[in-house]
Every structure is written in structure tokens, then in C-alpha cells.
């Protein structure tokens, strides 16, 4: 791809985004109205509209004959196709898959989940997910004829096995390249995005059966050299500590995962909060974040922990010229992973890749469907 193509594609995306935003704000509109609303020339607009119609993102709904005063041929009205599923985000957990689907304007138009047995292999899980999406599409009258981006989160522990299988199965189903990553990283992306664009650098720490996380800079996941950034759980906090499943000793996960806190006394919880806060404090000196989000089942089941973690973070970042990061509880709930996948699908779609202006608009999910597989 030459520089010119890049610049051309960027211009095109910018224009296209204006057209989609105008259609979302105005509803069905004639070409003349769109040209006025977007300040694009009729010729440019015509190119964009032709392409969007061809891709199934927008439809010709009607003509303006009824509202029309004066003479002349009635003009066609264009509208976002409410039935066009353009972006799909999957979150494959140990025992269930969650799916979020968005239209051309990045609005979530359907969310659903299906449970599966944890012994199901990844090909089976992918098939269950594709079936669920099919069921959701029937229920919400969606079609997958114009899918622009698909991403899927998988559990960190099985990422190396799961990635190629899930990528292949979903690519076969939707005829498009699929982005696959750790679902905790995607959850972090959703949590940071949900807080809005005023935060430049966000850390996400997920304390659950396992411990993981993500680093989000300017609304995008920091990837690192091998897309393994965010592994807060395997920072060593005690070189003489218990053996971790990763092989090292004294990883943060060994002391702060859900199982390790069962029946812990208040003083023990305090000590764990201090260690968690020290790791986040160290990360804060290195990354100068303005937001730290703590998610997962640990803060839900031990609600006092968050304040003590925050205290330890502030101890670790005292006396420095940078401002203190805000420490907050996660708010995206069980749909965090799927929503983060959706954001990644939007970021990575060939049409929008590298386009920092893309904003994820959550809207209100119309309904949630449960299925079992």
C-alpha cells in the first residue's frame, strides 16, 4: 500500500464517518439533505453512498414524495440499515460465550450469551458461538451480509491453542479476518473506553479465578512485542513465595486470585491489598496513568478491598510531580469482554484500522438472549 492509498483511504473513512453520523442523527435523509448536513459535494457523497449501499450498511428506504412540496421527481431517502450487523465481538470464557453485535454507526444492536460445558474443545465452542449469533440474527432481524469487523477474546490460559482455531472458524463463518486476543485485555479496553476519552493512560487489573490485566493508551490496547502486555498477575511480589502455575514463585496471582482469598482474615486481606497496590503503584511510576480500573470477582466478593488498594497505590505514587491516578471499580459487568472485542473489531476493521477518530457508542443493548449449548 502506497502513501497515497493510505491518505486516500483516510479521507474516504472520514467522509464515510460523516455520512453515517448524519444518518444516525437525522434518520432517513435524501442525498441533498446529506450533502448539506455533511458539507460534502454531491459527487463525493454519491461515491460514498453507492459504496455503503453496496456493502449493505445503508438502504434506500423510501422517497420524499409525501413530505415534498413543489414539483420534480421525488428523491430517494437513505437510512442506516437497522438489519445490517457490521461488527461482531465474541468473548469465549471457560463456560460460556458472550456476543455483542453493532451496526454501521457502532451502536450495539444485540447482545447474547450461550453456556457450554468447560470440556468442550475450541472448535465446538466456536460452532456454538456461530449458532448463537445466527439465533440472535433471526430474533433481531439482522443479516451478516456486510460484516466489516470480527474480534474474539479467549481465556488467557488457553490463548495459544485457542487463537488459531477460533480465528479460523469465525473467519470461515463470516468471510473476514478475525482478531483474537486475551479476553481480559478486551475487558480492560471496554472498561477504559467506557470511562471516556479524557483519560490518556488506563491500567486494568482483573482479579478473579486468575489475575490479568491490560494497559490502554489513548483508547487503544498497548500490545507489546508479542501482544502479551498487561500480565499483572505474573509480576513477582515475593521471590520466596508459593509456586505459581506459570512456574515462577510468588507471582501476584498466587496471593490475590479468588481461591487464595477464601476464608482470609481481615489482616490477610489488608496485606494482599497492599501488595496489589504496590504493583499498581510501581506501574503508575512507570506509566503515569490517570485511571486504574479493578475488575473481576475478587472486588465484588470482597468489597472493602478496593479502598485499601487505592490507599496503597497513593502511597506508592506520593511525592511525585505527576497527578494521582483515579482508582475505580469496573462497570461493564459480564459484557465487558464482548464489548471490548467489539471495540477491537471496529479498530481493526480494514476500513477503520488506525483511525483514531473511531468512537464506540454503547447505546442501550436492545435485549439479551440466553441460550445453552
Amino acid at each position: 500500500m502506497t502513501d497515497d492509498t493510505g491518505v486516500f483511504a483516510l479521507t474516504r473513512r472520514t467522509h464515510e464517518k460523516r455520512v453515517l453520523a448524519a444518518l444516525r442523527a437525522r434518520g432517513a435523509s435524501s442525498r441533498a439533505q446529506l450533502s448539506e448536513a455533511t458539507r460534502l459535494s454531491r459527487t463525493t457523497l454519491s461515491d460514498i453512498v453507492t459504496d455503503l449501499v453496496a456493502r449493505g450498511a445503508i438502504v434506500v428506504t423510501d422517497t420524499d414524495a409525501e413530505q415534498r412540496r413543489g414539483s420534480g421527481r421525488p428523491a430517494a431517502l437513505l437510512a442506516l440499515d437497522p438489519g445490517s450487523a457490521q461488527f461482531l465481538g465474541f468473548d469465549f470464557g471457560h463456560r460460556r460465550v458472550v456476543i455483542a453485535i453493532a451496526d454501521a454507526s457502532h451502536k450495539v444492536v444485540a447482545q447474547g450469551e450461550a453456556e457450554y460445558d468447560e470440556h468442550r474443545d475450541w472448535r465446538e465452542r466456536a460452532a456454538i458461538a456461530v449458532d448463537l449469533a445466527q439465533t440472535m440474527s433471526a430474533e433481531h432481524r439482522l443479516h451478516f451480509g456486510a460484516v466489516q469487523g470480527v474480534a474474539a477474546g479467549v481465556t488467557g490460559r488457553s490463548r495459544k491453542t485457542a487463537e488459531p482455531i477460533v480465528a479460523r472458524e469465525l473467519a470461515n463463518a463470516y468471510g473476514i479476518d478475525v482478531v483474537v486476543d486475551n479476553n481480559v485485555r478486551f475487558a480492560g479496553l471496554a472498561e477504559a473506553s467506557e470511562r471516556g476519552s479524557r483519560f490518556s493512560t488506563a491500567l486494568y487489573l482483573h482479579l478473579s479465578d486468575g489475575v490479568g490485566g491490560a494497559v490502554v493508551v489513548d483508547g487503544r490496547l498497548h500490545q507489546g512485542a508479542d501482544r502479551f502486555a498487561g500480565e499483572f498477575g505474573h509480576v513477582v511480589v515475593d521471590p520466596d513465595g508459593a509456586r505459581c502455575r506459570c512456574g515462577k514463585r510468588g507471582c501476584l496471582e498466587t496471593i490475590s486470585r479468588l481461591g487464595a482469598l477464601e476464608g482470609a482474615l481481615p489482616a490477610e486481606l489488608d496485606a494482599v491489598a497492599r501488595e496489589v497496590g504496590r504493583v499498581l503503584g510501581a506501574a503508575s511510576m512507570i506509566l503515569n496513568p490517570d485511571l486504574i480500573v479493578i475488575g473481576g470477582r475478587v472486588p465484588t466478593e470482597h468489597p472493602g478491598l478496593l479502598a485499601r488498594i487505592e490507599e496503597a497505590v497513593h502511597e506508592g505514587t506520593a511525592g511525585t510531580a505527576g497527578s494521582r491516578p483515579e482508582v475505580r471499580a469496573a462497570i461493564c459487568g459480564p459484557f465487558a469482554g464482548a464489548r471490548g472485542s467489539l471495540i477491537a473489531a471496529i479498530h481493526e476493521s480494514p476500513l477503520l484500522a488506525g483511525y483514531a477518530g473511531t468512537v464506540f457508542e454503547t447505546g442501550q443493548p436492545p435485549s439479551t438472549r440466553k441460550a445453552t449449548g
Copy 2:
């Protein structure tokens, strides 16, 4: 600025970069030759050339009358103006200022340094720097009529005081906005850039009289919320440790700065290397870097330290799916800060800001001048 302006400016920069690269590769060239070399239309090329000549970046050197076969009016030959200083990078240390100057093609055309008394205030230091640049310009026959970007690094400890003064004094001298930052962060930017673009994420740790660092992602400094990212020196490694100048206890700086290592026994050095490696190992789990560079006077004066730090980093990153980061000694020497400033000046110049394609080409500095102030 509208989206169109942004896209237009990007196209313009891309074209301009092609013209400058062609002039650098070919030497003096006619418009026809440049059009062929850059595959730009004569009209587009003419606009670019007119602008570059007006800004003093390129000059009309001669005509092709001598080489020319056939008839017709001789064509003007264009060349990079070797006398045009386009980008200036300053590094203000405790006792000296270092300056690097680059031409339009980002090649370093002059480097110099001047010493000053450490009690000089920041206005005086800036004046000494401007004088040095003036002397360098006379010696290298440079003119400052077309300066596109200026950046200056200042010592971390005095950053809040120094930043506004240095920014104002240099802005007055060169008639352009000036980027000011911590000189250790700029040194890290230079060290990471010098290693080439194959590294996606680099950590820089500076162990000297003080301890600092930088995080460089895809060739750019990670800034953080308040531009205070990279403060490895103030990560707490021992909450019961010695009081640090920042007010906290047991910061990495308290044990690993040059002064703390004076007369240390081998076993003590080992312990320090282990702590340094643990902090870098933790940072590696969070950021998944492919490169870690260690600079400053400590590794120079204690040459065995690097291997022991590397060992500890690898212990902290064992058992993970990501690859190990390379741990390397700094190579930019005393010009690291000024070269990093120069890279920042190039990145931040209004013409090039946000343009990831900008590559810093060090070339061979023609000479180094020492002055005392």
C-alpha cells in the same frame, strides 16, 4: 482544524518527505528529475518546491547547462540547503548544555557543548545555549532562518522550574514553540530510536547520580497523563528502606544511584542488580517490551552489573508466553539527550506532528565543538 485539513496536511508531508529524500539521495536535481524520482506530478512538485525554497530548506544551486545535451532553456537545479538548520535539540544538564542540529532531511549537521557553573539559573543557561548555537552556526555556516522544530531536555529534578523558562527563552530566540521535557526521557527516546524500528516497545533505565527512565512505544515516548512516565527511580522496592529525596521510603533510586554504590562489596552489587532486575521484570510483565536499555554512569563504572540485571529480568519474565526482552547497554553516549530532543523536535514540529513515518537519520556528526560559559 477540520478533518480535511488534517488529511491535506498529511498528504503534503508525505509528498514533501519524498522530495527531501530524493534530494538527499540524488544531490542537486532538476524539477524533471525530481518529478520522475518522486512520481509526483509537475504541478504538485512545483507547489512543494516553492514552499521548501520559501522556507529555506532547499536552494536553487545552479543550472544543468553544463551536463545538458540537446537544446532548450537550461533547467534550474535544486538541492538541500546544507546551511539550513531546521531542527534543534538541546540537552541541559547540571553542568553543561549539549546541542544537536539537523537539516531538512533530519541529518545531524552539527553537535556541540558548553559547560556552565551548576549554580547558573535557567535563564542564564538558556542564554549560554543560544550563544553556543550561534557560534556553531558561524563555524558550520548554518542559518536559523527556517527552523521547523526546537526541543530541549532539562534535568528531572528542576523540571517544573526550568520548563517554562527554557521554553520561553528558546521560543524568543527561534520564533517557534519549544517542546521541553525531562532529558533522561529524551535520552531513552534516542537510545530506542538508535536500535531501529524492529523494536515495538523499549524500556530505558538511567542509573546515574539520579535514577530515571523512559518508555518508548513504536518510536515515540509514552507520555502518560502528566508527561511523567518512566520514573523507574521512584518505584518503591522496600517500604521500610531509606528515605528518598521524593519523600517516600525505599525507592529504587535510594539503592541504585551512583552515590549509593560507592565502595559496595560484590554481594551488595548483586543485591542491587537483583532489585533493579525485579523492577524491570515487573515492568516487562506489564508492558511486554522487546528491548531494555541501561544507561548512565552506574553501568559504566560497574561493568559487571548489566549481566546480573539481565539475569534478574529473565527470572522475572520466565514461564510466560511472551518472548524475553533483549537487555542492552546504552550506545548514544553524552549526546543521547540532545539527539532525543532532536527526535522530539522532528516529531513535534507543526509540519510533521503525528507523522509516524518520520525517521531520524543520525549520519556522522561533522564535528563537535566545546565551549565554556
